[in-house]
């Protein structure tokens, strides 16, 4: 004979187990709903592709020691610094191609960063946006081009080839962003005496003096 109190205890425990099972089922459903809601708010939208714009590259040629203007359509970001880096990356990609008239290994990855600073003192304004005030668009800027050490190490040694690389970078920057009037170079973030034993990298280059008329010698 089962005692009465044991029967009551069994019924109470059974009822409690049933209630707890229901609560757990509900909690599981809620967690599932939260998960689905979280997936809906995830950034599933594809990144916006920058619109293609016309860019002018001053492409060097070793055969006649000239810079030749070449216009290409490139997707360019809005930020000035990133835009300068993208244009220079394309220029160095041309030099890294097998049929280049000015062969230099490395390609776009050789440009680590491009910083834009006011050309005449003042505070640094890296990455000035296209929505900046109009006066900042006309303020002369100094571009600091940080090259990778691998690029400098792999650059062919010679007066002509090094000079053409430096001048084509300066001229390309000025052709696409005319407010860049001065250019300085760093290699792995440090100043370096020469690019590959010849062209001086310690001086500030005046970009306005490096832009030649089409096909002429720098």
């Amino acid at each position: 004979m089962i005692p009465r109190y044991q029967t009551i205890l069994f019924v109470v425990l059974l009822a409690a187990s049933t209630v707890m099972g229901g609560v757990l089922w509900q909690l599981r459903d809620r967690a599932h709903q939260r998960l689905l809601a979280g997936q809906d708010s995830a950034p599933t939208q594809a990144p916006q592709v920058a619109p293609a714009e016309q860019a002018t590259l001053l492409v060097a040629s070793d055969t006649d020691n000239s810079l030749l203007a070449r216009t290409l359509s490139l997707p360019l970001p809005q930020s000035s610094g990133a835009r300068a880096r993208a244009v220079l990356g394309k220029l160095l990609d041309l030099y890294a191609s097998p049929e280049a008239a000015h062969p230099v290994p490395g390609g776009a990855a050789s440009i680590a960063q491009v910083f834009l600073l006011p050309a005449s003192g003042g505070t640094s304004t890296p990455g000035a946006t296209a929505t900046a005030p109009k006066e900042s668009q006309t303020t002369p800027e100094l571009a600091v081009v940080n090259l990778t050490g691998a690029f400098a190490a792999g650059h062919p040694s010679g007066l002509e080839t090094e000079t053409l690389t430096v001048l084509s970078i300066c001229a390309t920057l000025h052709a696409n962003q005319p407010r860049i009037t001065q250019v300085r170079f760093l290699v792995d973030g440090q100043t370096r005496a020469t690019l590959a034993g010849h062209a001086d990298l310690t001086r500030t280059y005046l970009a306005t003096q490096t832009v030649p008329t089409e096909g002429t010698h720098p």
Binding site: E160, A193, H198, P218
Partner: protein, 256 residues
């Protein structure tokens, strides 16, 4: 001290500067010396007054630890033979010195052996020589023919105290004229010549008409080297043309 030695070795104007320094106290003297340090080496000559003795400075680039570029030599394209730029520049310097000496031109060289010579030291040697022509000799595998470069510094009026890093600015106009004379002689010798402006540390500190001359191989129409840089005949042709140009330049310098 190095500056003191430099003062004592120079001409009358510098001796005057040295004696003036003796009259100031020691702390002031040190400050004055520090301020003058970057100017004194280029004070040796007045830009517009060439001396009666015609002197040419030959600066064979690189040397010692600084080998310069690697240059393909005979059969280099096929067999991978190459030579350091420093050896070829020295060979050209030696050959050119002999030719100029045979023509009665005084020559000062920045190096005669495979030795390291700092860029500032090269300019210092040139500035002490009171030269009428300074040639920085380079060799490159890139490009074709002879590349002549004058300093890209903007021309400036001659000043008594010139900054070390831009001393060449007062001579840029004459350097371009010297490049023109070299260009004519090299073209006359049947070589391909390109002219340009560049920023070359040693040349920018030279207080003399200065040109960087880079010799590159000659290429045929089918992108093969017709002449390699270790070809003695090619070296002799370049040296003969440069020597002829310097004779022409001497005549122009000594014109009344």
């Amino acid at each position: 001290m190095r500056w003191t030695k430099r003062l004592m070795e120079h001409d009358g104007r510098l001796t005057f500067q040295a004696s003036a320094l003796k009259r100031v106290g020691r702390p002031s003297c040190i400050c004055l010396v520090a301020a003058l340090g970057v100017f004194i080496p280029v004070l040796a000559q007045a830009p517009a007054a060439p001396s009666a003795r015609f002197v040419v400075v030959l600066d064979a680039a690189h040397g010692g630890d600084d080998a310069g570029g690697r240059i393909n030599t005979q059969g280099g394209d096929q067999a991978g033979h190459s030579e350091a730029e420093k050896a070829l520049t020295l060979a050209l310097s030696v050959r050119l010195r002999s030719l100029l000496a045979a023509r009665g031109i005084a020559v000062v060289t920045t190096r005669e052996t495979d030795a390291s010579v700092a860029l500032d030291r090269r300019a210092e040697i040139a500035n002490r020589a009171n030269a009428q022509a300074c040639l920085s000799l380079h060799v490159s595998q890139s490009g074709s023919g002879i590349h002549l470069y004058a300093s890209s510094l903007p021309p400036a009026e001659p000043v008594r105290f010139a900054a070390w890093k831009t001393a060449q600015a007062a001579y840029v106009t004459r350097s371009i004229a010297l490049a023109g004379v070299l260009n004519s002689a090299l073209l006359h010798a049947g070589m391909t010549v390109t002219l340009g402006r560049t920023a070359l540390p040693a040349v920018d500190s030279m207080a003399c008409p200065a040109v960087a001359l880079e010799v590159a191989p000659e290429w045929g129409s089918n992108h093969t080297q017709t002449v390699t840089l270790d070809d003695p005949a090619y070296q002799a042709r370049v040296a003969e043309a440069v020597a002829a140009a310097l004779l022409q330049w001497r005549a122009e310098v000594h014109q009344p």
